[in-house]
Symmetry: C3
Subunit: 138 residues, 3 copies
Amino acid sequence: MKSYRKELWFETKTRREFINITPTLEQCLEESGIQEGLFLCNAMHITSSIFINDDESGLHHDMEIWLEKLAPEKPHTQYKHNGFEDNADAHLKRSVMGREVVIAITEGRFDFGPWEQVFYAEFDGKRKKRVLVKIIGE
Amino acid sequence: MKSYRKELWFETKTRREFINITPTLEQCLEESGIQEGLFLCNAMHITSSIFINDDESGLHHDMEIWLEKLAPEKPHTQYKHNGFEDNADAHLKRSVMGREVVIAITEGRFDFGPWEQVFYAEFDGKRKKRVLVKIIGE
Amino acid sequence: MKSYRKELWFETKTRREFINITPTLEQCLEESGIQEGLFLCNAMHITSSIFINDDESGLHHDMEIWLEKLAPEKPHTQYKHNGFEDNADAHLKRSVMGREVVIAITEGRFDFGPWEQVFYAEFDGKRKKRVLVKIIGE
């Protein structure tokens, strides 16, 4: 069994942002040399997500509006978590969108459907945050 | 390390539908001959989900109503994604219900609790769509 | 390839509760002797979740309020599932929070960010329920 590990770093300019990290993850997979196995990618922080969906700007706009409706940022005082911090909504948004994805590796490539792209979702940005890649297989 | 891969195809008659795929997945597991390992099952399309819950028609009815409340299909014009398409709500519903499940394999069987059943959730059906099975183990 | 399996049992005194199970999972990992691999932890019941987030009581209070808003317990009669049971809301809350987490194991330890903690989320407690740990690796 082979294993591979890498940390990716992100620092967004805005509080919330979606970043397509598929090309970066493909580089990790190539570096690993793993042909058959499972690829785990997870946010290492608890106010961000990794998710798979469409790379379409209209959809990302809809998601921003939708998540803000499900778990509004403001007023900050509506949340008990917001004493020293103001990011309770980011913890909730991340709960909807998920911490991690597990991707099948087949013949050295992501075994994806036609539109699957991997995104880093930042819900409390403007600071350095990490994502973990771990691959196991052969 | 052994690995196994299979694509499953679905074409629902309605826009939204839940299909119990547990028996089909059990066949895959048997075919694989894997006794100990991890079983990944994921939607290959970004408007459908794989999830584990109860096979109870009342609950499925409740889920349909609930998801429609969280991410309503209509009016289609409320979503920017809905230019050439009308399925923005399906992308959001899938975000709630998740893309994938990872199931433990123990002694050649799904290591399930008493009521766990695996479902394919279609949120934008009436066309051919795929689900991926990938198993790794020994 | 090594594999490890354990069942954890919980019986909460209240209907809903979040329990930090990170120390228990760390014991499982140590027992397994696995240095590199993937650690799956899933609820074996369909009205509870495993999730990773912050161990902060204010946030847990916010999550309780938030989940109750997204999928209210009462009135019980609003759900078709609630014939002989009254736990439809628990099935929905668990759908938001997720069934499982997959954690990277690196050098015999959880490969976690600074605040990641694993929780058992009970949404229909006051009875014995199980969580599964399955680790594969080397």
